[in-house]
Symmetry: C2
DNA sequence: CCATGTGAACTACTTCACAGCC
DNA sequence: GGCTGTGAAGTAGTTCACATGG
């Protein structure tokens, strides 16, 4: 493992920037694809293109992990796959539980990207007795009453919440009390957790809203008086302010991977995904 | 609108930072909740807590939109809901198509967060003849052959791709050729699109990998000195939204400022959820 | 007084550009 | 010669702290 990386100021594992951590999975996927095609080495330029980032950024990212490349040559694919996997903690098995087996929960349970990345769905949990006992993605759906037992028995430290908004916080509290310290939240709620617990959220509606923002801008920016029209005295009532609108949204987001672009693009996003059909 | 906002340096719509745009949906949701409870006004402090961000950031974000608050009082909930909705382009109807009606596509079709935010699912499209004709979420699944017609007839500019990895790029190309300029990609692939087309990606496996990274660190690196450096007293709530351009990340540490008091943290979470049962 | 709105300071991330090594 | 690894420069985003105005 670590070569004798002797010195190196803060380079070592201690200070990997969050932005870099967020991109490691991206590199890993691109590398895995190369590995499957038996490509032995890649240059930062090629790998960057495959991952959708620019090469300088990629090299800088890798520099935080150590010096795993060879000047004049590039990076050894297999070696890099291993190093990144280890850095991300994917060389170990991570049992996870999915709570809330609705459309989204089922999609997540069926997502193939888990197993291939070191994650194992230890159990599916739902509060609805009608769901209990059913089999989803080859696993039996168990009742919420068993939540604590399941977490403890399987040593689960990562939980996925795919319940409606209302049930999210209670479920979160129980997960945390049972020992879960990392939560991926799909419910449209701001969860409160004690210090030391990580929460990542995924909200499809937010992604769409961001797209709408840019979309709107594209349409409007070509005309001169544009802003005036829309922003100013615009017609009609705006319905957005209407209360009663949000009810519940539930939603879903999940799936596979990330996207990027080669040609060019504008914004990007990153969020979780599940297996597409 | 209303006031004649006459001047205002750069404040206006032109330079809203991406990071701010990514948070507007968050504020909007918190505001909508307040609106439903008929709360007339909120202070930046209260709203920030509800959205899971710190108040200084929230005020700065709002300052990019204009001066919509009242000193000494706070913000008018209804008015702010309207302003943010308008800024995001949610005061208009956005027809969207979902391509790939598998587990995920179905979950997305059933997601209630769309309609409530100005989005309307214009059509569900799938390449599998076995799916064609079936009804999902009250809508008939149509065959890929009709893709171009559907896009054109409905004036769709936003497309959601929930197909397997292999079919994503071809679908993307067709969507773009037909006129779509914003794409939300759930397939684990880096999409290539021409200039001017926005792509946002959602990848669950990436989110889990990021959680695993932090989880691993918690377990192993508890050494005394090291921890102090950064992870130390960091609350740790990370959110998935990405600001910058490519894969940014929004990490969060909010120690100092806001007062997260109690033992809890007030993270955030916002995402779509699907109906469980 | 109180809470907004914002310049200024600071921190995080990105991009440049080139020295170093294969 | 080619490509990595990385200081240095540049840019974006966050937080401070306080003047401003209801």
């Amino acid at each position: 493992m670590a070569t004798g990386r002797t010195h190196r100021p803060a380079t070592r594992s201690r200070g990997i920037p969050e932005a870099t951590v967020a991109r490691l999975p991206l590199y890993l996927r691109a590398l895995t694809a190369l590995s499957e095609r038996s490509v032995p080495t890649v240059s930062s330029e090629e790998l960057a293109a495959a991952a959708g980032v620019n090469s300088a950024k990629l090299r800088k990212d890798f520099s935080y992990l150590g010096s795993y490349g060879t000047r004049g040559v590039g990076y050894d694919v297999e070696y890099l796959v291993y190093q990144i996997s280890r850095e991300l903690g994917l060389t170990q098995d991570w049992p996870v539980v999915i709570v809330g087996i609705g459309n989204l929960g089922a999609a997540l349970a069926n997502y193939g990207g888990f197993a291939s990345r070191g994650f194992r769905v230890a159990a599916l949990i739902d509060a609805d007795p009608a769901m209990t006992g059913k089999t989803v993605a080859g696993l039996p759906v168990r009742h919420t009453d068993e939540l604590e037992t399941i977490i403890t028995d399987n040593g689960v430290s990562i939980g996925v919440i795919a319940t409606p908004a209302g049930g999210a916080q209670p479920v979160c509290d129980r997960l945390v009390a049972a020992g879960v310290t990392s939560i991926l939240n799909f419910a449209p709620t701001v969860l409160s957790v004690p210090d030391g617990v990580d929460v990542r959220k995924v909200d499809l509606s937010i992604e769409l809203q961001i797209l709408a923002f840019h979309e709107q801008r594209k349409a409007g920016e070509e005309s001169p008086a544009e802003a005036a029209v829309r922003a100013a005295a615009e017609p009609v009532v705006v319905d957005a302010a209407v209360p009663g609108e949000d009810g519940g949204e539930g939603a879903a987001g999940e799936s596979g991977a990330a996207g990027d672009d080669n040609g060019r693009k504008g914004p990007e996003g990153d969020v979780p995904a599940v297996m597409p059909a």
